[in-house]
Subunit: 253 residues, 2 copies
DNA sequence: ACGGGCGCTTGATCGGGGTCAAGGCGGGCC
DNA sequence: GGCCCGCCTTGACCCCGATCAAGCGCCCGT
């Protein structure tokens, strides 16, 4: 609600670069919204982040934010839309690393080699915030809360990737995937029980290590047993507790 | 060579805490050896790291360096021996996250929650260096090379975990596993073509998402086709190029 | 309105590897 | 020294999900 109402103030901002909204609106869905507002970064820190960020986009579905092999220079926070990151192995097969919603950071896996190890592709209309990494790292030395938040996000990505390795059945994986998306949408203020998949079945299958046909069949079985209703890419959760039961084996202890 | 000869100077060191060797020897196999010696940290930075580190161990096989659920307070660099990190899901099944050789950092995946999400268990006699994380983070704000090295290691862990997700056959996984171990041993100055597995087959199987029986069978097949020779936990690579060929599908592009 | 293509679904078959079962071997402890 | 237990191996069987194949429906462009 505050979002649409605040558009009237869009031009009365102090931020000289990414001034498409006032500071609260600008960061409310942004990667650093939490750290700025919630983790003790003061007005000055917020200001400095705003000076650092560059708003980029919109990208259309299929456009690349960065590409495998590009020289690493920045991390990006998704601001709107969904981004998929993926690699291609030497057989030409795609391996999808993740689907990234607004507020999530991409490019962190490139720090180590200074080369992006994956493509970042818009799945729908996408806007991002670009943070020059050298500048961000320098800022992190001056503002410990920003350093801490970077450490946190890197650490979380390790845990998330580890979680995906777990042995499990197609049912467990798909249930966990839907629940995970649902939770992330909910955390962003969307309905928890109705979500729109922004990627084709084949991408879901690839991400989960399944065949597209299996995704289709399992979704149908979930629907037949009343767990959810699927209509194209729209999914309505009808029995979240039941889904959680199906996924329970691979949810964190 | 310089190692055994330097023992004569063991007591003539400036480091007040972890003074079991001179500075070069102490760090030569340590997580921060590279950053101290190779990435531009000067004498002062090295000194500061030395003041921060606490040498711990020896741990015997089966001992825990830390446990799932423990409050996160420090990261550890393996100094000697091999450490496995593993989680237990709610069905009681183990999920092995990694095997960590000397010079590798463990505990980075706990930053995010401030709770260790896994057990760290010694597979043989192990010594570690403990770095209080708050102190390390503070030091990182003052010494950018240390901050950078932490970012790098976190980033690398993300990439490593992502790599493991890839669909692949038992043969590919096992070949890649052996080659990976071989390369890591070689980078630490050990023979590349003769290595000792420090974990039981069941742990290898768990780590690779296979059954122990499959590991056994595939190793036998590799041996029958002349790729390597297995004798208990001793593995001799006889045809590394052939192994690389088997693993090629899942090696980075 | 129509054609075409891509994404999705559903069915049929097949195979890699998990599981169950039964030894063999080796090392530690009394 | 001998026993025992845990690790490893080998064999037989079977199941989940991949693959192959066919058809459907929706959207998009002309």
């Amino acid at each position: 609600m505050g979002y649409s109402e605040s558009t009237g103030g869009r031009k009365a901002v102090f931020n000289p670069i990414a001034n498409d909204g006032d500071d609260v609106t600008f960061c409310s869905t942004c990667a650093f919204g939490a750290v700025c507002v919630g983790h003790g970064v003061d007005k000055i820190g917020l200001n400095e982040l705003h000076c650092l960020v560059e708003h980029a986009g919109p990208y259309r579905a299929g456009d690349a934010i960065f590409r495998n092999g590009d020289r690493f220079s920045a991390v990006y926070a998704v601001r709107a839309g969904t981004v998929k990151t993926s690699q291609v192995d030497r057989e030409g097969r795609e391996l999808i690393l993740g689907f990234h919603l607004p507020g999530e950071l991409i490019g962190l896996n490139a720090i180590h080699t200074e080369i992006y190890p994956c493509d970042a592709i818009a799945l729908e209309t996408v806007e991002v915030c670009r943070f020059s990494f050298p500048a961000l790292a320098t800022l992190a030395t001056r503002i410990p809360q920003i350093q801490k938040e970077l450490f946190r996000r890197l650490s979380k990505d390790i845990g998330d990737a580890s979680q995906r390795i777990q042995e499990s059945t197609a049912d467990e994986r798909l249930a966990a995937f839907i629940l995970n998306l649902s939770a992330r949408y909910e955390a962003r203020g969307f309905a928890a029980n109705a979500l729109r998949l922004s990627m084709p079945r084949s991408d879901i299958a690839n991400y989960l290590g399944l065949a597209a046909e299996t995704v289709s069949r399992v979704l149908r079985r979930f629907q037949d047993s009343g767990l959810l209703v699927v209509e194209g890419r729209e999914v309505s959760l009808r029995n979240p507790a039941g889904l959680r039961e199906v996924a329970r084996n691979i949810l964190p202890e």
